[in-house]
């Protein structure tokens, strides 16, 4: 196995920072808080950044980066959504989304690595796959957690329905992630080699 270089580590660290910003993006962009049923719900861009990590860093570095992101939050740095930290977010009903970022980064990275010549269609398809994996794991965990330790009886369909507005948002961001990949990689030659 190839050793992680200084450049890999710096990119990883940057993505941990981007994940922290993405989780709390409404602090800087208040217009991303969407009113749903009268309550202003802050959107997060974690899914977007985990997909982009997979696309830009490749499966190995990206999944290690996401693992580090989760550990950093676990040891008390407020990098999760709403400036949360510690083990509590993992026990909540959205904890599955946190775990899924590792899988999302790995799968999107693995998929993009297998494509020799990346087109816009490819990168968007891969990004959309990432979102689906994110929600498949996240919503299933939500269903399981609600029906076991949180003691709520909710059907699987209802769990999906409650996350549907967020799914739309993340699909939208995924399209941007796919487009951004090609834009960014042409800006930075070092990433360009990796991306294509």
């Amino acid at each position: 196995m190839k050793k992680l270089t200084a450049l890999d580590l710096s990119y990883g660290a940057i993505f941990i920072g981007l994940m922290a910003i993405g989780a709390n993006i409404t602090v800087w962009l208040p217009f991303l808080a969407i009113p749903i049923a009268g309550v202003s719900v802050p959107l997060s861009m974690q899914t977007f950044f985990s997909i982009l990590a997979g696309l830009l860093l490749g499966k190995r570095l990206a999944s290690w980066t996401m693992t580090s992101y989760l550990i950093i939050g676990l040891i008390g740095v407020p990098v999760y959504a709403n400036m949360q930290s510690g083990p509590a977010p993992f026990f909540g009903y959205t904890g599955g989304f946190l775990f899924s970022f590792i899988v999302v980064a790995f799968v999107t990275g693995a998929l993009i690595e297998n494509i020799s010549k990346i087109t816009l269609g490819h990168s968007i398809t891969v990004a959309l796959t990432g979102v689906l994996i994110n929600y498949l794991i996240g919503v299933t965990y939500m269903y399981i957690s609600m029906n076991t330790w949180l003691g709520l009886e909710v059907s699987y369909g209802a769990a999906w329905l409650s996350m549907f507005p967020f799914l739309i948002k993340d699909l939208g961001f995924a399209v941007i992630a796919g487009t951004a990949l090609l834009k960014i990689s042409s800006h930075l030659p070092s990433l360009h080699q990796r991306a294509s």
């Binding site: 920072g17 008390g76 951004a180």
Partner: protein, 265 residues
């Protein structure tokens, strides 16, 4: 906005808990999180609560501050308690609220689960209140060291975490600067449909990415210029050592665990 954001909740002090080796704290908290699930009666819960509250007092951190740090959790604790109050139907009916019967079993079970949650969060937050994130990453690196055998890049991940601790505040400042710069150029989507709001993120993202990657590349170059070659043969500025205080803390914790198993049914 970003001035409100404090990275890490560490409160500097020189208490007994602060001086403990971070590895000892990490392992103790980890074991506590597991053993708290073994408590099953008043005595064992009480025993663990005494341990947790004594530890909290020993940190010499203002109790108000600790409680305030737990604010996001109160909601969950109270929510689980109320949920059990209305869902569980065991034991005798104690009284009725708006025609809903409240069972004694529900009170006990709801109380127990809320207390367990509270203890979990209290102990883990004591860890981060008394230990700097750098100390914790050092401790994680040393504790996970055996995993190197199975090709788990322990040193690299610990270093990546330390670098990111340095980068997170910088990136946050940069985000704020860019969003203000773009606002001054007239980028303003305070309202509008979801699609437009999502697209409005692009003018923020592109400069943020380009800036961040430039930073990463400069850092990597600086690391290589100083001869960074990975973990092999690297020495540390802060060496961790297990002292008498740490041994006694471990002994106390062992007594707590033995007590737990004596008191539980």
């Amino acid at each position: 906005m970003s001035s409100k954001i404090i990275i890490g909740q560490y409160v500097p002090s020189n208490s007994v808990i602060h001086r403990l080796d971070p590895r000892v704290k990490l392992v103790t908290v980890f074991l506590f999180v597991i053993f708290v699930f073994f408590a099953n009666n008043t005595l064992s819960y009480g025993w663990l609560s005494v341990f947790a509250i004594t530890s909290a007092l020993l940190t010499k951190i203002n109790l108000k501050y600790i409680i305030r740090g737990l604010t996001p959790i109160w909601f969950l604790v109270i929510f689980t308690f109320l949920l059990h109050l209305f869902v569980t139907h065991e034991g005798q009916i104690l009284f009725q609220i708006f025609g809903l019967p409240i069972y004694s079993g529900a009170l006990i079970q709801g109380g127990a689960i809320s207390l367990r949650f509270f203890l979990l969060i209290l102990m883990t937050s004591l860890m981060t209140l008394t230990t700097t994130p750098i100390e914790i990453t050092d401790a994680i690196e040393l504790l996970l060291h055996p995993l190197k055998k199975i090709k788990f890049p322990v040193h690299e991940l610990a270093l990546m975490m330390s670098i990111s601790l340095r980068f997170i505040p910088t990136l946050m400042q940069e985000t704020e600067k860019i969003s203000k710069a773009q606002a001054s150029r007239g980028v303003d989507f305070k309202t509008g449909p979801l699609k437009e709001r999502i697209q409005a993120v692009v003018p923020l993202l592109i400069p943020l990415f380009v800036g961040a990657f430039k930073r990463a590349e400069e850092l990597a170059m600086a690391m290589e210029a100083r001869g960074y070659q990975g973990g092999e043969g690297r020495t540390k500025l802060r060496e961790l050592s297990i002292r008498r205080l740490d041994w006694s803390a471990m002994l106390v914790f062992l007594v707590v665990i033995i007590g737990l198993f004596l008191f539980r049914q």
